[in-house]
Symmetry: C2
């Protein structure tokens, strides 16, 4: 029982389910959504379904066609690079702010996450989750709710590209080292350096992702 009961309306459930399917690629990019069929499948009427669809359109997780009708946006490889860049900009800001606001307790927390991260560096999925945990914690310390919101949106979008950007062991080691350096920069109280480290770290991830993709394409074609 959450402190705030948190409205659990049908439209919300449908929204969550559709979002899950989109991010997991269960709903394939390019696929069109027909309201009556989907409503039947999800056991609701078209009204709450439409509400969920509209919301997903706002979040760029569905696309309205000029002719009327919605489709799952196609994956555009060039977009990955853009998303990483925006994430870099936002995380850079967060690192800067976190640096200015972090308490000793916050620093302990970050180092704790780092330690857990180090223990899991060889497992791709867990390592990624821990990495996200670190960034999430920094976001919290930074205390800029708008930055947090945009960061969440970008992260959701990137989720769809997960399959393209599988990390290598080498890349994970590098990321861990960069995370360590970032936390130490925050601890040192140098906001410029913290911002730069965060930016470069994410941009490094971007480059790795772009290479991974062009590699796959190059091999395939």
């Amino acid at each position: 029982m959450p402190a705030i009961p948190a409205r659990n309306t049908g439209a919300h459930v449908v929204y969550a389910e559709l979002k899950r399917r989109i991010l997991s690629l269960e709903l394939k990019p390019g696929e069109r959504i027909y309201e009556p069929a989907m409503a039947t499948e999800l056991q609701v009427s078209r009204t709450p379904l439409r509400e969920a669809i509209r919301r997903l359109i706002s979040e760029n997780l569905l696309e309205q066609q000029p002719t009327g009708g919605v489709v799952v946006p196609v994956l555009d490889e060039a977009e990955i690079s853009e998303l990483y860049e925006v994430r870099a900009a936002v995380e850079s800001l967060m690192a800067r702010n976190a640096c200015l606001k972090a308490t000793p307790a916050d620093l302990d927390e970050l180092r704790g996450i780092l330690a857990r991260n180090a223990a899991l560096v060889e497992f791709a999925d867990d390592a990624m989750k821990q990495g996200m945990a670190l960034h999430a914690r920094i976001a919290l310390i930074a205390g800029n709710s708008w930055a947090g919101r945009f960061h969440d949106q970008v992260s959701s979008q990137m989720e769809r590209y997960r399959h393209y950007t599988n990390s290598t062991q080498r890349r994970r080691d590098q990321a861990l080292a960069q995370h360590r350096a970032l936390v130490e920069a925050i601890a040192a109280g140098d906001p410029e350096q913290a911002a730069n480290m965060a930016f470069d770290h994410v941009m490094g991830a971007r480059d790795a992702a772009v290479r991974a993709i062009s590699g796959k394409n190059g091999a395939a074609s």
Copy 2:
């Protein structure tokens, strides 16, 4: 006649009208929206109205209350600072990218905007519009559509705070000088410097806005 017919459904019209009222503060912060009354006023049924409302909630221009019912979000002065920071991060990224991609023609375009801006520096409203035109052009040159989207959202939000942040003549002169320096940094092809100039420029605007607000409050209380 636009090349793309651009679906003009009732829900879209309602969306635009509500957004206009929210941004202009015609709908006052804290005010609740009752669907039947608003639907009658806008001469549509509740269905398209609700669709518009949902979309505005997604964009954080309306707020859903836990109990059910939507209100116009209250203006929180602390939020202005957050919004400026996010804008700084995004514009900084855009400046960096624009620097890497700008063609000679692009540079001419930017300098042209600067010239028009200089001519209007004493008129607060026009100066602001020209300033936005410059940033919009840079966004276009940067060619990161996601950054552009987020930038638009932040700009919309800031619109609501316009009344608080009236610029002074001194501030406008300073902004013009910074814009000139930014364009020259882009022209010089130094992405780091361009990014830093854009960041510092917007952060300067943030500080001015924060001072203006605390000044008003200090004087009032």
